[in-house]
Amino acid sequence: MDESRPPPTRARPLRAALLLAAVATATVGTVAIVHDLAQPRIEANERLQRVARLADVLGPMQYDNDLLEDVILVRDPALLGTDGPLPVHRARLGGWPVAALIEAVAPDGYSGSIRLLVAVDTNGRLLGVRVLSHRETPGLGDGIDRRKSDWIDAFVGRSIGDPPSEGWRVRKDGGEFDQFTGATVTPRAVVRAVHNALVYFDAHRDEIFAAAPVRGDSR
């Protein structure tokens, strides 16, 4: 292999710059083409995934409306755990409300906020809870994730009065919900956030189902 280099000339920096520009253009061009090819499918996948996620938390509950379109934005920093607006999706059957899917935030997780999706029927009974995102310690606090354990199913069928509010705690604090070995902070935060979401639903039930849906897709 001959590694002899051309003698340095004044043209060299220019050549290097042009080569670099050419490679940059080719790379960006390739990424742009892949992006254009992939984007419609990615959006379709995301939409499917969001519908599936909402349907999953509703469990066997029947509904016939487009959950992604029938959505309102609400704001309640004290009970929903964040200053910003949060989406509430409504499930209906034949036009009648059957359930609400409330996004809530547990602000006091072990490492940051835990985003939750809480599904309640019109009577305030919990249909299911899912963790949308979290940064809890893998293997310790991530049992709240339905993919890791079925701990979160303990909420199914519960409501604001079942157990009474002093029971809405982890066992270590005298409540009815299990904590994890080595991780109490995470389940404690989730139990409190779910209870707060129920309190919110109890206070705003009629407005939640009556409000006109927001236009467009909200994430």
Partner: protein, 215 residues
Amino acid sequence: MTYNRAMQTATLLRNGLDAQNPALVQLLGLCPLLAVSTSAGSALGLGIATLAVLVASSLLASLLGRWLLPEIRLAVFVLTIAGLVTAVELALAAWWPGLHDALGIFLPLIVTNCLVLARAESFASRQPLRPAIADALGMGLGFGLVLLALGAARELLGRGTIGADLGLLLGDTAASDGLRLLPDSAGLLLALLPSGAFILLGLMLAARNWRRQAR
């Protein structure tokens, strides 16, 4: 280059798997190695993705190498690797969304894996196609196997299971429990924490060095 090409390929593969193992000898790419090796499943996911990017970037580096001026070679490789990983991530998100979700955070981390850049810059760019790809395969497999071993060990010690997250690689939304080998209560929390990863990697390094000295 007079020696047998098959011999050369075999040597290159063995280099990556053992003599120059990126994780155990060169200690390259430790950040992703330690960050995602909490279970055998996620470790395998990162291992496969890294292998794919490594082979593709070495191929490009080998093809581009002779045309590039030394001054901009590094910049060009950084650019192409970043572009490559971005394209792979987009394609996975579009056509294999299950796998994309399972790899989610690990995918962009591949750009920061210095192993990829090191092989492209110091080896592939100076070599013809065949040795460049053999080297990438060896290095990628060597990295992936250490990752898998570390992930399996941490999962077994920390959770008492093997392969709990493997289903995620196939696009399952719910992880199965995996194969439970130890009772749940026997879980050693330390193994799942980052410090446990350092300790286990240290033990693997010590075992390797001890074996080599015994020879």
